[in-house]
């Protein structure tokens, strides 16, 4: 399945709760790794490992600022996941719109029976 490769990567990355937490923390603005270590209360090698996974799928970017490296979030890789779920949601919406029509008729019948 051709689309799996692009979507599962970002999916893999956000499937791990601590990586989602990192994205939440970075969504407020860029931060150095030490900030993340302190806020997450995790060992630095573990935080670095998660950051590496997020960088590999492009969800996190890094830039050097003096002696510090600052990490920031990039939401674009999540766009295909969002579209993918939106399409699925749309097929259910179409079904349910038709179900509404059926239900209106059933309600009419129920009213007629009461008369």
């Amino acid at each position: 399945m051709a689309r799996a490769a692009t979507t599962t990567d970002a999916f893999n990355a956000v499937a791990e709760p601590r990586r989602r937490l990192i994205l939440d923390l970075l969504s407020g603005g860029e931060r150095p790794v030490n900030d993340l270590v302190r806020l997450l209360d995790l060992a630095q090698p573990l935080v670095s490992k998660h950051l590496r996974v997020l960088r590999e799928v492009g969800l996190v970017e890094v830039r050097g600022a003096g002696r510090q490296r600052l990490y920031r979030v990039n939401g674009r890789p999540l766009q295909p996941i969002h579209e993918w779920v939106t399409n699925y949601e749309r097929s259910w919406s179409e079904r349910f719109d038709r179900l509404d029509v059926v239900l209106e008729e059933l309600k009419e019948e129920a009213r007629d029976d009461d008369d």
């Binding site: 799996a4 993918w84 259910w92 179900l99 509404d100 239900l103 309600k107």
Partner: protein, 160 residues
């Protein structure tokens, strides 16, 4: 004359789950009837994606169900499964297999909750692995095919 009752909301509460929620402007015994009666299922199940050609419902624990539609592009899409638990007007637990990916069997729990003569339907789809869950969402797209691809194209074009 149709009251618009809301839109379907799809969320992914856990990595192996899909949760679909929708409110209907009807009491739940009617929603349950429309959900489980073959001649009524025929009228809504395919959505805009095609035509339902066959619906089999044996509504009892251990009973089988199978829905088949011909998609607009001409190919058939079929799902089947077995009912595990039925509480009339309230709850249906069943297995579900998309015949295009028969190894990915899911367990779906449909819950009908009524308040002020309106019904909230929640559909929780539980897969055994995240890959199967992802495949399930993708298969929804496949049956939507042409429209979905057209839409995707529009989105892609708008991103350029």
């Amino acid at each position: 004359m149709t009251a618009t009752s809301g839109t379907a909301v799809v969320t992914l509460p856990a990595e192996t789950q899909i949760l679909i929620t929708r409110e209907f402007d009807a009491p739940r015994h009617l929603v349950f009837r429309a959900w489980t009666t073959p001649q009524l299922i025929r009228r809504w199940w395919a959505g805009d994606h095609g035509k339902v050609v066959s619906v089999e419902v044996d509504l009892r624990p251990g009973g089988r169900w199978r829905y088949v539609m011909t998609a607009n592009a001409g190919f058939e899409v079929a799902f089947h499964g077995e009912y595990q638990e039925i509480v009339p007007d309230q709850r249906i637990v069943s297995t579900e297999v998309y015949e295009g990916a028969p190894e990915a069997e899911a367990v779906t729990t449909a819950t009908f909750t009524e308040r002020d003569r309106r019904t909230t339907l929640t559909l929780l789809v539980q897969h055994s692995t995240r890959e199967f869950r992802d495949l399930h969402i993708a298969s929804g797209m496949e049956s939507g095919m042409q429209e979905a691809l057209d839409d995707l194209e529009e989105v892609a074009v708008s991103l350029v």
